[in-house]
Symmetry: C2
Subunit: 211 residues, 2 copies
Amino acid sequence: MRKAIEHPTGSRRARRGDAKRRTILQAAKAVFLKSGFGGTTMDAVASRAGVSKMTVYRHFTDKEDLFAGVITELCEQIIDDKLEKLFEKAPRQALRGFAQKMVSILYAPETVELHRIVVAECLRFPKLGRFFYDSGPDASITALANYFARNKTNPKFRIVDPRRSAEEFLELLRGYAHLRVLLGIEKIPTRQDIASRIDGAIRHVLIGTGK
Amino acid sequence: MRKAIEHPTGSRRARRGDAKRRTILQAAKAVFLKSGFGGTTMDAVASRAGVSKMTVYRHFTDKEDLFAGVITELCEQIIDDKLEKLFEKAPRQALRGFAQKMVSILYAPETVELHRIVVAECLRFPKLGRFFYDSGPDASITALANYFARNKTNPKFRIVDPRRSAEEFLELLRGYAHLRVLLGIEKIPTRQDIASRIDGAIRHVLIGTGK
DNA sequence: GTCTATATGAAGATAGAC
DNA sequence: GTCTATCTTCATATAGAC
């Protein structure tokens, strides 16, 4: 983004304190996610927020600033919990729990819409791609890679390089089902599809898990 | 797309015969891929093609029609060769050859840009997502799935369901490197990265391939 | 068929009242 | 601080001459 994505208009305190600002941000989030950057008009945001357009401009210097505010908030919320806790169980259960958590995030409608708009606008806003990637995918990969690194000598695991194995595990979870959802072809993968996807990912990194 | 993506203005013969139409289409392709649908102006297309804007409108009824023409041509060109020929060798070599072909397509700049614009515009043009998916990803998955189905009983292979295994193989090839390229974070994956990616994919579907 | 010039409309941004 | 009303820009699309 042209402006710093980390610092939309106003101080951090002002961001939290102002209720109307939050109302506008919520409205903007809905409109941007549904219509994209180009398809969103300041009129639509103002209308949805129940305020006049001028009020929107009082809180955000322009459309890009508003967009930055929305995206920042969304990215900060992608990974909410501490992922480390999931790895405290035995390997198979730990990986299954982590996988289920990841799938639930990956396929959440809001995540999918965010993903779509980031891909769409990452050329217009050069910082956007990295900001999103660091907030979501990279955070997940790193958490899993650390777990693999700790268990690299464990004979149950088939780890070549921790980070690569982490990527591969998550790639199998995401897969083409995610692309189909992104393209609007599928709504949400079935439970069976997800279960089989998780099995495939675990089979890829653990040994002796049968055919 | 609102109009049929398969049939932009004019008959199939007219499409091939008219040289100026092709000039406009080439110019439009460059501009759309660089700037997206919203960022592209008919002025820019006309200017790049070296014709007046009116001439563009003589060949394409409107901007959407022009967009449909560009996307149709791009999608038709994604998979140019017959993929079946690649599978005539021994399993390991066959899969390696197929994988290299797929990687070269996946990471070609034009493919990446097409992918990006399709994700960006698939909500505005409902048919677009499926058209792209069928032309590229699904064609690849199906070709590989057929190969796996023919070799399902071969003890070298670790195939649960041919189509799922095909998706998994291609997911490992695509992976997060592709997302990073899509987001503008990386330019092109390194040779080592690609080689290791191909190894991982083959390891996933063949047995007894070492570690 | 192709051009120059223009109409139309939408949307980002602002002026000034309360 | 918030509103109504307005300005300005610019891109799609068209009219009419050659």
